[in-house]
Symmetry: C2
Subunit: 283 residues, 2 copies
């Protein structure tokens, strides 16, 4: 895999880790970091994470044959609007956003003729942010969901798949709609719950610090950017509402069992969860 | 601090770690492990975690001046019934249970004259179990909540406090009722939520494995013993129901904002949680 120039828009945890991983793998092509904060970009370049940088997206993407959108998902459209006149023919644009249906539809329609858009979502990163936390092995063993649509060019899908495999990810394919349904349950719902749990505890005096590692592990994702998660809720509104409904129904079931002192049923309910959870990581 | 004999009933993660920590600190007194499985107790002794063992609680506690109940909380009463005739005058009985009000009331009334009961709850351990996971530094820097009542003898409170400080814990005092209110929110509620979340995801086909580290961290406590958590729900029923109500109200608030597309309000709600969460562990 070889590029002339790779433009990474948003040199944070994900963008920075992609750059570091590509360099470590010896992928050819100079890497341009694009962002809003010149000082931070300069630091990223001085650290060798990117080769050059630009605070003007339309200038930064000029001549790039691969453009990776790795800002918060709510900014993709504005960036695409700003760069679309400067993307060279034959270039591939991809993203790392946590929601796909709206993003893929909108961005695919915005790229100029001769340019391909391929949606992707690496399952890595989480609550940390900033290139200071970036590391070349962030994607090793992580899933990366690629979400082609019927109009997506096969060559572009291949290149983006190779890119993610090169940085160590386990590539899977889903339709954008399927992705958004699955991730509403396994990622967006958990974030909403973590925020709600912390707020519920904050409602009860100053007791958060009495929690142990269990609480800290459980609510670590509540450290994630509020802006990003607001946008994810906006983009994946229907599926998230549906996932909340499914969760609320399970929680009501448990609540009713506790109210009715149905202890055998409650133990079965807990045991079902325990067995299910063991499938993804044994205790 | 010096004992003649310390009896630890339940040589699992917590009981085993107490034994290892006491040995590491050079606390005088031989340690007897008491349990139901002779083979496992023998292994614990061969590993040097305990000095001797017994599968007969009433025999194992004979001559002990300190008795630590570290089985699942639902078994305390039966054990106390079995050992109460064999506890020597002047001995101190303590426990490590995650619920306190009912336990302290019941066990305090069961100990014979001249024997003190002091309730305690180290905030450590979590979803792992078995002495194989035990380690001498499990309690280093962890909280241990001691829950005396007016009838608890001052000397016994001092000894149990010293014990926990000796193994590295940060000792705090609460009334049993206060403890149960606080831990309903910061521990019992999170467990109930984790079980409900896993079950809600299991309801949607086979998608659990698509989750990332965020989901794994968030639901790790769903690996905890179903029997133990059934019992905790039983013992702390009212407070847990109240904590679920508080959480449900915060979750409904978020749900209504998503339904009404109140994105600015949603971002504030998430930001409040994020700021609160940062107080216990910065991002």
């Amino acid at each position: 895999m070889e590029f002339n120039k790779i433009a990474i828009i948003g040199v944070g945890l994900i963008g920075g880790s992609i750059a570091m991983a590509l360099k470590e793998r010896g992928i050819r092509g100079r890497i341009t970091g694009i962002g809003r904060n010149r000082e931070r970009l300069k630091n990223a370049r001085d650290k060798g994470i990117v080769d050059e940088y630009s605070t003007v997206p339309s200038e930064g993407v000029a001549g790039a044959d691969l453009i990776i959108l790795s800002t918060p998902v709510g900014r993709f459209e504005g960036i695409m609007e700003a760069i679309k006149g400067s993307i060279g023919r034959g270039a591939i644009v991809t993203d790392v956003g946590s929601v796909k249906a709206g993003v893929v539809e909108r961005l695919s329609s915005m790229v100029p003729d001769g340019v391909s858009f391929v949606g992707a979502h690496p399952i890595a990163g989480g609550e940390s942010s900033g290139f200071e936390s970036a590391r070349p092995d962030l994607f090793k063993g992580a899933l990366c969901i690629i979400t082609p649509v019927t109009s997506t060019e096969a060559h572009a899908i291949r290149v983006v798949s190779e890119l993610w495999r090169a940085v160590g990810a386990d590539v899977r394919y889903m339709s954008p709609d399927e992705h958004d349904i699955v991730y509403a349950s396994v990622s967006h719902l958990p974030h909403v719950i973590a925020y709600a749990l912390i707020n519920a505890i904050l409602d009860r005096d100053d007791i958060l610090s009495y929690g142990g590692n269990g609480l800290r592990d459980m609510t670590r994702i509540a450290l994630s950017s509020a802006e990003l998660w607001r946008d994810i809720c906006m983009y994946n509104r229907e599926n998230i509402l549906d996932a909340i409904k499914g969760f609320t129904s399970r929680l009501s079931r448990i609540t009713e069992m506790i109210e009715a002192s149905e202890w055998a049923g409650l133990e079965r309910e807990f045991e079902r969860a325990r067995e299910g959870r063991r499938l993804i990581e044994p205790d």
